[in-house]
Amino acid sequence: MRARVAVPAGVGLVLLAFGATLFTPTDEVRMAPFPVAAGIGEEVASQHHVATIHEVALADVVELDGWRGTTSGVWLVAEATLAGYVERTTVGVDLFVDGVRFESTPRADSDTVDGRVVDPGLPVTGAILLELPRDILDRPGATSAVLRLGAAGDTRLDSVIEWRIDLTALEHHAEVELDRVRKGAP
């Protein structure tokens, strides 16, 4: 009886060890932020922000308060209303396409809502602007890109809001004129 059980048990334990090694989470998984999923037009809250993205589009050229933003790639433009949830919080926005991270542009200075600070109950509305490569729509993850909003800087193990976006389905404008950041919701 013991011999009959010992061999399968031994093989089973070896397989278990392989499985444990195989499925041990990587650092990237263990340190991943805690996302709150959101849809366009839906107000959602993370531990840091209350946010609504009203619309998203692509553009070849953007104009913002006298600044004309040209690019050899393409702009991802979103209009968002943001506020802090508990306390004053910085705003950082990234787009992930097939595991590649694209940061929001610093080129528009502080005329966009990302890169600012927001306070609880005092929403601001304005543009989020990301400069993407021209071939972004041809990349494998373009149909399920993730726009992530969190506190600026390190978001590991932190609360974030994520919008899943099909970049190939977005309207593509030749030129878009953006409004400056303004107080309140639209």
Binding site: Y85, V86, E87, R88, D119, P120, G121, L122, K183
Partner: protein
């Protein structure tokens, strides 16, 4: 199989107790330091003085002004005035925040907003709470809070060297 369960019942029962116990024991070294790091708020009534981070703090004024009158219709302006008497100087500044659970049902915090409204702090007041030099000064800080939501604000004083202790001035 039932014989096996019967023969090992005490070991299995011990396992049922020991497994949760081991989880609890493993958490203890992290749980208590976590608790010790949580802010410990000390309440001080208006006009009373409390020693904190080597200085005596007295809240002498706390007003909620209508934002319509100060160019911020979406907000109210909370103006806090304190007397700070630095007795044992330390190379740090104290951070002031307005705290309120009104409007949201949970505590929210607002940082100073000196340039966000038309409210100007008179010249005789300091707008920075430095604890680096001995002496007494009056400090006045404006904050913006959502309009018509905060009627009884509390001023929280924080200095990095004195955390997790914080002052709550009512």
């Amino acid at each position: 199989m039932s014989a096996w369960w019967r023969a090992n019942r005490w070991y299995l029962l011990a396992l049922l107790v020991l497994l949760p116990a081991s989880v609890v024991v493993a958490m203890i070294p992290r749980w208590f330091p976590y608790l010790e790091r949580q802010p410990a708020a000390e309440s001080v009534e208006r006009g009373d003085t409390a020693r904190y981070s080597g200085a005596d703090f007295t809240l002498t004024g706390l007003e909620v002004l209508d934002g319509d009158d100060w160019g911020v219709p979406e907000a109210d302006v909370v103006v806090a005035t304190l007397v700070v008497d630095v007795v044992e100087p330390v190379e740090t500044v104290c951070e002031l925040q307005v705290v309120s659970a009104e409007g949201a049902g949970f505590e929210r915090f607002w940082d100073e907003a000196p340039y966000s409204s038309d409210y100007d702090v008179p010249d005789e007041y300091e707008t920075r709470c430095s604890l680096a030099e001995a002496g007494s000064f009056d400090v006045r800080i404006p904050f913006l809070v959502p309009a018509d939501e905060v009627t009884e604000p509390v001023v929280q004083v924080t200095a990095w060297g004195s955390l997790p202790r914080v002052l709550r001035l009512h």
